[in-house]
């Protein structure tokens, strides 16, 4: 089976966000880039599934973005154990719809049997691409998945997804299907130094948006007028014994802040 995992390069969670002076986006020059944390769970599940199948199945990592920068995230995926890697080169930032359409077209060409992604990317926080890909390819999907199991005949997957208030939904999907991974699905492995070195020499296949038939009309939304959140009004530190602190804060919440 051809297993695919879509990965995205995002700013490290430690990044202090700065806005471009024209408000069109964030400043990227000082950003340290990492693999989207939820994609790490997707990569791990793809590799685990391949290794369990042990039938010649392969895992291909796929990303979209400016290739000069984002092939790095594919090197990480290769170092973790992915067999192949493909970059869809795009210098401009695409919205979720155009991104999903481009990824879908690439997946269609490749006859993917199983597609893993993180449930959301921690940059734009849209939580859309797994579902969008599934809709484009007319496949079943499940997102926010915390358990994944393939049936013995490889025709179905049973997944557990997390809903609100601790509710768990158990779904059965026929393959091919799209899985959005949540934290808790597995414990991602670390890449070994020899594998990191080997990954540097592996070939990365390239596609471009024109080849995939992506045009301006595939873009459905635009983000603009970026701002930093308004600064919080200065707070205050309360003084006194533990008993004083407790009674003061409760009184302030009732009488000053009026929130209880």
């Amino acid at each position: 089976m051809k297993i695919f995992v879509c990965v995205k390069q995002v700013p490290d969670t430690e990044t202090k966000i700065k806005i471009k002076s024209d408000g069109s986006g964030i400043e990227t020059q000082d950003v340290k880039w990492i693999m989207n944390p939820y994609d790490e769970f997707a990569v791990e599940e793809a590799l685990k599934t391949r290794d369990k199948l042990a039938d010649g199945s392969t895992v291909t990592a796929l990303t979209l973005g400016p290739k000069a920068r984002c092939t790095e995230v594919l090197r990480t995926a290769l170092a973790l154990g992915c067999d192949n890697a493909i970059v869809i080169d795009s210098t401009e930032t695409l919205d979720t719809s155009a991104t999903a359409r481009a990824l879908s077209e690439a997946l269609k060409k490749e006859d993917a049997g199983l597609i893993f992604l993180g449930k959301q990317a921690i940059d734009d926080d849209c939580s859309q691409v797994p579902q969008l890909i599934a809709a484009h390819l007319e496949l079943p999907h499940a997102s926010v998945v915390v358990k994944f199991e393939l049936s013995a005949d490889k025709s179905k997957a049973t997944v557990e997804r997390e809903s609100e208030g601790g509710t768990k939904e158990i779904l059965e999907l026929s393959l091919p299907c799209v899985i959005g991974a949540n934290k808790g699905l597995n414990t991602p492995r670390f890449a070994s130094l020899p594998n990191i070195m080997k990954a540097k020499k592996k070939e990365i296949a390239e596609l471009n948006l024109a080849q995939l038939g992506i045009s301006e009309t595939d873009t459905k939304t635009r983000h603009y007028e970026f701002q930093l959140p308004p600064p919080r009004p200065a707070g205050r530190t309360l003084e006194g014994s533990a008993a004083d602190l407790a009674s003061q804060v409760v009184k302030l919440l009732r009488e000053e802040a009026k929130v209880i």
């Binding site: 926080d125 859309q128 969008l132 059965e172 026929s174 707070g235 205050r236 802040a257």
Partner: protein
């Protein structure tokens, strides 16, 4: 008149408050409001939908839609949107809402905006404001090349609106053949917690590494119980296995904006601060007075949480339960 379709989530025969809020929001914005609900007996929601501003209620009452099925709900909802041709489609930015709206966006080739905190209508143009980088930035979002705008709104962020209660909404059945689905709901295990999910909670009490071990969670839970609050946790606590990921607040967890957020033993890593800084009032209890959490706190309490928190619990009980 511009028309809004509102996807209504319901439980035990009642519409969820996050969906009622959207019905009233659309109605008071001068839009024609059509509510949409799925599952057997969905038409019994007509009175409640009407009271909150919906003139019409479109339902698909198939047994296949008893529980959330991404494929079945996607098919049924996109069919209704095609027939109704609304200016915008509103839903709550819940786990269900985010899953469903993106699937529908793909099926109808329309734009989707997740986690919106403000929505404005200018004629047929819809514009929304949403946080990115889990709240480290915000941006406006507009729609293009889309026949309708799919907008998911965070619970509790819109200005509360009141509407003149109307009679029961007129019910329309939207029947659909759903037998060939490739997705089967095997089982739904209801969570044991009767508290509100973090993303909807008005008051949250969160624990950090300062609580020293999972056995001390009861200190936090007692404080939460005295306030009717939901319980959250920092990433450190979740990674240590003291709490499930569903309780994690911050980047790679949940972004929350309650009225009151009480951070206990949380130092305030940048990822945590991003996820809770839009809370209206923040109380922090920490023994390290240099902890970054104090820069965000409305009220900072420096000291031993094991001394202070039980006393706070007592004070809240005295105030709220006497």
């Amino acid at each position: 008149m511009a028309k809004a379709l509102v996807f209504v989530e319901h439980k035990n025969g009642k519409i969820k408050s996050s969906s009622l809020e959207l019905l009233r929001f659309a109605k008071s914005g001068g839009l024609e409001v059509v509510a949409v609900a799925f599952g057997p007996q969905a038409s019994s929601l007509a009175a409640e939908a009407g009271q909150n501003g919906a003139a019409n209620l479109v339902v698909t009452e198939s047994a296949e839609l008893q529980n959330y099925n991404p494929e079945g709900y996607g098919k049924a909802f996109s069919e209704i949107i095609k027939n109704q041709n609304p200016t915008c489609v509103l839903g709550s930015s819940s786990v269900l809402g985010k899953d469903l709206f993106a699937r529908v966006g793909g099926l109808l080739k329309c734009g989707v905006a997740t986690d919106c905190v403000a929505v404005t209508f200018e004629g047929n143009n819809v514009k929304a404001r949403r946080p990115l980088y889990s709240g480290k930035a915000t941006a406006s979002i507009e729609f293009k090349n889309s026949s309708t705008a799919l907008v998911l709104v965070r619970p509790n962020v819109l200005e509360p609106r009141t509407v003149t209660p109307g009679g029961p909404a007129t019910v329309t059945q939207s029947a659909l053949q759903l037998s060939s689905l490739k997705t089967l709901v095997k089982q739904v295990v209801q969570g044991t917690s009767n508290k509100l999910d973090l993303s909807e909670a008005n008051i949250i009490v969160s624990a950090g590494r300062g609580i020293k071990g999972p056995e001390n969670f009861k200190v936090i839970e007692e404080l939460a119980a005295s306030l009717g609050a939901s319980v959250g946790a920092s990433r450190a606590v979740v990674d240590a296995g003291w709490a499930p990921h569903s309780m994690q607040v911050g980047q790679t967890g949940k972004t929350v904006s309650p009225t009151l957020y009480i951070a206990i033993g949380i130092s305030g890593a940048i990822q945590h601060l991003a996820g809770m800084s839009s809370s209206k009032v923040i109380v922090a209890v920490n023994k390290d007075k240099e902890a970054p959490i104090f820069q965000k706190a409305t009220y900072g309490l420096v000291g031993d949480l094991f001394e202070i928190v039980p006393l706070m619990t007592q004070e809240f009980k005295k105030l709220l339960h006497s």
